[in-house]
């Protein structure tokens, strides 16, 4: 591999010498030359000026994540889901709750509908709690890191439609995130303090879920996973 790339480098050097020779050697394009130099300088300086005049919020300042951090983050999320599933929701940090709903039932039954296919909607976990007809719903959104930037905010909570005894989980639009990441030039990075190399990985598992507190005795139809207590 090294040999092939070096061979290519040699060939390009030799080709370069010939091209350069023809280019710079004995041609005399004088007048335009001044304009070329001047023009290039103006473009470069101009782009620096434009860069500094850009509005503050043009750039998201990236925290550089390492591969380990990304992996750790994914592990955390799995752990979090596992905890919830095992009925240890109280051990899960409230900061993950990004939206909350409350809903009062007319009868003792609840019909939960979601669009097909079922699994394209959000996972619904539920526990029995209380005896009144109030249902509490928390949405646990997970952190998503893409190209060294936290894009969690791009992922919206699912929309819920409430009927008399029904909750309909609206089909979510698929979220597409595109990120342009400007990395440090290698010559800058080499002498920077933060030496860890940035990760090209991302943490983006669909581990988000709705957590419902359903009163005891309410009959539930629909895709709800009751946690083991």
């Amino acid at each position: 591999m090294i040999i092939i790339s070096l061979l290519l480098a040699f060939i390009s050097v030799i080709a370069g010498i010939y091209i350069f020779n023809a280019f710079m050697g004995k041609y005399h394009i004088k007048k335009p030359l001044k304009w070329i130099f001047g023009g290039y300088a103006i473009i470069l300086i101009g782009s620096v000026l434009i860069y500094f005049m850009l509005p503050e919020d043009t750039f998201t300042h990236a925290k550089t994540y390492s591969d380990e951090e990304i992996m750790q983050e994914e592990k955390n999320q799995e752990e979090l889901y596992r905890l919830a599933l095992n009925g240890k929701i109280d051990q899960v940090d409230d900061k993950y709750i990004t939206q909350q709903w409350e809903f009062e039932l007319k009868d003792d039954r609840l019909v939960l509908t979601a669009p097909e296919p079922q699994h394209s909607a959000v996972t619904v976990l539920a526990e029995r709690a209380g005896t009144d007809k109030k249902i509490k719903i928390d949405y646990y959104g997970m952190k998503r890191i893409v190209g060294n930037v936290d894009v969690s905010s791009k992922v919206k909570a699912p929309e819920l439609e409430f009927g008399e005894n029904t909750i309909h989980i609206r089909k979510r639009e698929k979220v597409n995130v595109k990120v342009a990441n400007f990395s440090k030039e290698f010559t800058v990075k080499q002498f920077s303090d933060g030496k860890k190399s940035e990760s090209r990985m991302s943490a983006m598992m669909d581990q988000d879920f709705l957590y419902m507190q359903i009163p005891v005795g309410v009959e539930v139809t629909g895709g709800v996973i009751f946690i083991d207590e």
């Binding site: 710079m24 041609y27 005399h28």
Partner: protein
């Protein structure tokens, strides 16, 4: 011009030899050039003129012997380079500079350069300052090179076949321009040519080389008296030829011969020769150089004679 009794040697060569592989381009050449003279370096093609000039100019290193320019070894010598300009066909300038810019650059290097003169000469020879060196015809390029050579007014100006490609009119003008500027600003000029007759008038000295060796080095005026031609009946000519070194000989048909010998005949001998019906004639410098540098004393005729 300060011609005192004390003259500085601008160029000194002692036993100078240059070998390329197996061929000896120069063989044991020794001579001295004093300052402020125009010397012509004359020789056939391949005699080693260019090699000699390049060694003097510091472009080539001598194989053995000694060469001194301004009392210093010229090879790789900055002082020599600063006081010498070498004008030849191969002179190359960056393609990105036009003639005016080349002159300006030359002026920064050669402090004596007379820009006004250069521009007037350019104008006279219909060269445009905005032209590019590479786009000039061969003759025009030579003209430009010689303009740089004249106007830079270096203490030692070396021309190697400067007029190649020029037309006759330009050649004459160039030599006159060189002479006029030399009279105004005397300097040492070394000029190589294989055509002696176009330069002989402006030369003070002549250095003749043949097959890499110095043949003679003398004042131009003396060269005219160096040899004498004898012409007459072959019988009497043969007698004269036996006693001295014959430089050139040819048969004029019907029992007559023409020989050129070194002019060391005493007045008595001249008288005697005349009495024998031999006609004595001078030999032009140009012819003499051709004779001297011929491989055989008969010249091309020898090829055709089967005696």
């Amino acid at each position: 011009m300060h011609k005192g009794g004390w003259e500085m040697n601008v160029i000194e060569c002692k036993g100078l030899t240059k070998v390329y592989g197996k061929t000896k381009a120069l063989n044991d050449i020794s001579f001295t050039l004093t300052e402020n003279k125009i010397t012509g370096l004359i020789g056939r093609n391949g005699a080693g003129k260019t090699t000699l000039l390049k060694i003097i100019s510091g472009y080539l290193k001598e194989t053995s012997g000694e060469v001194k320019v301004f009392s210093e070894s010229p090879f790789n010598n900055l002082k020599v380079s600063a006081n010498l300009i070498f004008v030849n066909e191969e002179m190359s300038y960056p393609g990105s500079l036009n003639l005016g810019e080349i002159l300006k650059a030359a002026a920064t290097f050669y402090e004596n350069l007379d820009m006004e003169l250069a521009e007037r000469l350019m104008n006279y020879f219909s060269l445009d300052l905005r032209q590019y060196h590479t786009s000039l015809s061969k003759g025009m390029r030579s003209t430009f090179n010689t303009i740089v050579g004249i106007s830079s007014r270096c203490a030692l100006t070396v021309y190697d076949e400067p007029t190649s490609g020029m037309d006759a009119g330009v050649r004459k003008d160039f030599y006159r321009a060189l002479l006029k500027d030399y009279i105004a600003y005397p300097r040492t000029i070394l000029l190589s040519s294989h055509l002696l007759n176009e330069v002989e008038d402006i030369l003070e000295d002549i250095l003749l080389i043949k097959s890499g060796e110095k043949y003679l080095h003398m004042a131009m005026g003396d060269l005219k008296e160096y040899a004498i031609a004898l012409s007459g009946r072959s019988v009497s000519i043969t007698k004269w030829a036996e006693e001295r070194k014959v430089i050139f000989q040819k048969s004029l048909g019907a029992g007559s011969s023409y020989i050129v010998v070194k002019n060391d005949l005493s007045a008595l001998e001249i008288e005697q020769a005349r009495n024998e019906g031999i006609e004595l004639m001078p030999v032009s410098a140009d012819d003499l150089c051709v004779y001297l540098t011929n491989k055989t004393i008969g010249g091309i005729d020898d090829v055709f004679s089967r005696s």
